[in-house]
């Protein structure tokens, strides 16, 4: 069962993820931008 303390923790997690999603959704990678993965170049 979820107690009050756990419900508060969950609420804080949900608020944090909502904020993170909002910030990330505002990121606009340009169409001209090459998807970049320098790690592959080292292989």
């Amino acid at each position: 069962m979820w107690g009050e303390e756990e419900a508060l923790l969950l609420r804080s997690d949900l608020e944090r993820i909502a904020q993170a999603v909002w910030e990330v959704e505002n990121f606009e990678p340009g169409v001209e931008e090459e998807p970049y993965n320098p790690l592959r170049r080292g292989e």
Partner: protein, 439 residues
């Protein structure tokens, strides 16, 4: 040699090579140290004295015949309890897996055994390597956390219960506990070392890593895990002073006073010894690092645990419950944008490294926190878990309270050789004691 537990990997390796120490005597010394300290430090979930003794006997015989397998021949290596070990219980720090015994070794464990390492047992981890704490205490002060998630590995190496141990990092789970416990922690490039047989937390962010008490030992461990030679790349007295890119901004604003004060003192010492320390400017996009890391982390953890979480929710502790529950709500569009940002940030971080050997920051936001409830803040480490670049921490000194703090050095992808060289140089200048701490 009763106090062989005090030896570093390199010291023990040389003595074994010269026939002045045997793997079984080294193991017995380490097991004695564990017996003495474990009731107070609680670094181990499962000990395998019988299996370790059997391995050490075989390796002793091989050493007597001059058949040394590698520099880790006969070296005890603790293994974080999310690495599968065939025939040896692997709990993931969760009651769900309390009796789980894998049938195979993680690829890293297989490589270490093949190279001659001895596995004394499994070290404590936070639940599923997230944030619900393990019972482990910091050997520098038992009232403080050792950090996490690789809590047992860091504490065991710091206190001489083994000279090296495996850990893993998704946010800051190697670098932070290493800094809190005053040891060297290394997280190589994202895909340099296999994650096969390591219970995942976040596929795109998980890194294999390890703890030692010296940079030379880190090079030896990296060699054992990759089949390459790194040990020769750290003769720090022969290396030119490195050019280091000092990051302020976010790091200076967020760092605890004792951490930033100690960091600035350490930087001055590096400068005085000849390091070329230049200011490096964080890219404007750096503000998105934390949200992008969180979105990827929560989504992937939720995906990994979805089935098990649905069936056994009551057996999950609160912090990982919250991560999974929140990750289940992330829209695919946000996850994909976070992954695109991950690529953008990797490019920008690589550009930052164009004119310097390494980037330089404090290794942790705070020193080890009092109490065991929180394992600390990973935000100085998670940027490098997001972009996958190799990082290492070197202990730089003690706070007024007597708790260790460390430097974090970051190099470009596959730049482990240069990173170890620079870290070895800094280690020599800073001169932090390499002896195990007595709790």
């Amino acid at each position: 040699m009763e106090d062989a537990y005090r030896l570093t990997v390199a010291e023990a390796s040389r003595l074994i090579r010269d026939g002045r120490l045997t793997p079984i005597r080294l193991l017995e010394s380490v097991l004695g140290r564990i017996e003495e300290l474990e009731p107070r430090v609680e670094a181990w979930v499962t000990l395998d004295e019988e299996g370790a003794r059997a391995s050490a006997e075989v390796l002793t015989k091989e050493a007597e015949e001059g058949a040394l397998r590698s520099p880790v021949h006969g070296i005890p290596v603790g293994v974080k309890d999310i690495y599968f070990t065939g025939g040896l219980r692997t709990t993931m720090g969760s009651p769900i897996y309390a009796d789980y015994v894998p049938t195979f070794d993680a690829e890293t464990v297989r490589l270490l055994r093949e190279a001659g390492a001895v596995i004394p047992g499994k070290t404590e981890t936070t639940e599923f390597a997230y944030a619900d704490p393990a019972p482990t205490r910091n050997p520098w002060n038992l009232e403080h956390t050792p950090g996490g998630s690789s809590s047992g590995s860091a504490a065991a190496v710091a206190s001489g219960m083994c000279p090296s141990a495996l850990g893993s990092q998704t946010g800051g789970s190697v670098i932070r506990p290493a800094a809190f416990c005053g040891v060297v922690g290394m997280k190589p490039t994202y895909d340099l070392i296999s994650r096969g047989g390591v219970y995942p937390l976040s596929w795109s962010l998980d890194h294999v890593g390890f703890f030692t008490r010296t940079v030379e030992d880190a090079a030896i461990m990296l060699g054992a895990l990759t089949g390459r030679t790194f040990a020769g790349e750290t003769p720090s007295h022969e290396m030119r002073a490195p050019r280091l890119g000092l990051l302020r901004g976010f790091f200076q604003e967020r760092a605890h006073e004792a951490v930033w004060g100690g960091f600035e003192e350490a930087v001055e010492r590096l400068r005085d010894a000849g390091a070329d320390v230049v200011e490096a400017a964080l890219p404007d996009s750096f503000g998105l690092v934390t949200p992008a890391h969180r979105v990827i982390f929560a989504s992937e953890t939720a995906s990994i645990h979805q089935g098990l979480f649905g069936a056994r929710m009551e057996d999950y502790r609160p912090l990982i419950r919250g991560l999974i529950a929140s990750g289940l709500l992330v829209p695919a569009s946000a996850y994909l944008k976070a992954m695109r940002f991950k690529g953008r940030f990797a490019g920008e971080a690589e550009a930052l490294l164009r004119d310097v050997d390494c980037l330089l920051t404090p290794a942790s936001v705070t020193p080890a926190l009092r109490g065991l409830e929180s394992t600390g803040d990973a935000s100085f480490n998670s940027p490098w878990s997001l972009c996958g670049f190799p990082s290492i921490t070197v202990p730089s000194g003690l706070t007024a309270e007597g708790l260790p703090v460390g430097l974090q050095l970051v190099a470009g992808p596959y730049g482990e050789g240069g990173l170890l060289g620079a870290a070895g140089w800094c280690e020599e200048v800073l001169g932090f004691p390499k002896d195990p701490v007595d709790p």
